[in-house]
Symmetry: C2
Subunit: 338 residues, 2 copies
């Protein structure tokens, strides 16, 4: 367990000079620096980040709170955040927030508060104002990804516009009997995305004068099995079957396509399906979707965090600007059959 004092002794300098030589702060002659660096290398010295953060107050560590790891969108965001942080020389401490309220409180009031993280990135989570205040009172930057949060800089797509856009795509193809397979509105974790995509669907349908109500919306878990089960149930009845489905996510869309094929319903001849997300599997299933870039949003969040950390004095505006999307038309959508 070599310490800085060991390095200093070997290099025959003081702790102060050794510290300056290794950290690069302050005046050190080139010759002395070389001697210190050589001594450090000789005994395999590595700074204790605990000691360093104790005095500087900086940990070079960012906390990430995220509800799922194993869903495509979240995993992709996480990957983007991770690579950006490592590149910046920062650690990433991961907290998965389950629906368990007690655990969630523990994460915020214990784990995130112990001066262990310099900032927090919240992915796909609706933070309460209490939680925001808690972190804010510690002067820690908070940045959100996926789902705007009041008083916080957030990176996400415009979910209302996204859902409206894919719905309009179907309408422009001539569809009139369109259903939305969306997220469960009762889910307290990330209901904003669910309800906003539903709102976008409703908005586009209303604007086109198409029927839109209880029988054009069905809720499910936003996952492939969720979409699959729902589609099996809904599509089984040929008379109630819509000519097109707007899925709340690509996972739901793919589940719907698989279910349709299994029921002998041809996609897109008998059923058009659009998704939202740009899932990596979308090309494989020929899914028309509105692609977003989760990894890029993660990277952008990290950049923003770094900027806030580098310029603490500045009053950062906590706004939300929609992240760009692009419609990728594939073989799952066409004009309705006769």
């Amino acid at each position: 367990m070599s310490a800085l004092s060991d390095v200093a002794r070997i290099a025959q300098v003081s702790k102060a000079t050794a510290s300056r030589a290794l950290s690069g702060n302050g005046y050190v002659s080139a010759e002395t620096r070389d001697r210190v660096v050589a001594a450090a290398a000789a005994i395999g010295y590595v700074v204790s980040s605990n000691a360093a953060s104790l005095v500087t107050g900086r940990t070079r560590n960012v906390g990430v709170v995220i509800p799922h790891i194993n869903r495509w969108y979240f995993g992709d965001v996480l990957e983007g955040i991770e690579s950006a942080l490592i590149a910046a020389g920062y650690d990433l401490t991961l907290y998965r927030l389950s629906a368990d309220a007690a655990e969630r409180r523990r994460v915020f009031e214990y784990f995130l508060v112990r001066k262990r993280v310099d900032a927090v990135i919240a992915v796909g989570i609706e933070l309460t104002s209490h939680e925001v205040g808690l972190l804010g009172s510690l002067a820690k930057p908070i940045v959100g990804v996926g789902g705007a949060i009041d008083g916080i800089a957030t990176f996400s797509i415009d979910d209302v516009a996204a859902a409206a856009l894919v719905t309009e795509h179907l309408i422009s193809l001539g569809h009139t009997r369109i259903m939305h397979f969306g997220g469960d509105q009762g889910n307290e974790m990330d209901f904003r995305v669910h309800s906003q995509r539903l709102a976008g669907f409703t908005q586009a349908m209303d604007a086109a004068g198409l029927p839109c109500g209880d029988d054009t919306f069905r809720a499910t878990e936003l996952s492939m099995p969720g979409g699959y089960e729902l589609a099996l149930a809904v599509l089984a009845d040929p008379r109630a079957r819509p000519s097109a489905v707007v899925a709340g996510s690509d996972e739901v869309a793919i589940g719907t396509i698989v279910a349709a094929r299994q029921l002998g319903i041809h996609v897109p001849a008998q059923l058009s399906v659009v998704g939202i997300d740009g899932h990596e599997l979308a090309p494989m299933f020929g899914l028309t979707t509105l692609a977003q870039d989760p990894g890029g949003q993660g990277t952008a969040a990290v950049e923003r965090v770094m900027a806030e950390l580098d310029d603490e004095g500045r009053a950062w505006e906590r706004t939300w600007s929609p992240y760009p999307v692009r419609l990728e038309v594939r073989s799952s959508t066409t004009a309705p059959g006769v």
Copy 2:
């Protein structure tokens, strides 16, 4: 920024007593403890983990190195590790190792060494003996998940036996023209799993006296698109088509099924497909697979780490014991058609 000395002053005790009262170590009268706890709560005091770890040498933080976040197996392991660590009051610092050798060195020689983590869990990564030695010289427990590593306690299934078992399942159904769609043997990250599953396949084929060579094995990335692309190419030629496929993972198996359906090949009547993993989507695609429990392996790894941390003196044997699996037969396998 309230410090322990503030708490001590308000509660009218010394720092030493305040520390004992809050940490629970050493003698403190019940009355004093209450007073200290009340004082701490009043000013919203939270220990600085940096200061604490500086003197104790314990960070209550475990580093996890993992090659992918967004693949089912890895995400599931990570979820299992995360919940177990949080439950034990530990933080999880995440390092995704890419193929970039320089970045990998940086993670091991800089990030993991700074006395920031108490232990390391390596998921699906072949550690070099140099890396093991590096961590070992710091007396940090290292535990592996998925893929045995020399000199390290590892939790994983027996990949040779697993591949042999699913191959035997196909053989027992009467298949003789069986191919293996496995992992690329040139991939340096996790080649052990790839080569072991190939070895299990070869072993079962040889034991049954079935042909097994270059034309019964095809390599691809172990992902759905990888399996899909490969299957599209291989299955297109009706004469070269096998009657059954042993996929290197469920993702590859599902990609194969999707490709087969698209080519108009009926599964299982014209093509049986088995996978390995027990992917969450296996039921949806009716995939016969050998299910393992990645989350459980992650949890087991954490338990082992905690045990080693609690009993440092003991000489822990670094062995590998195979994790249990179970064959789940679904509708993707049947006897070969005529």
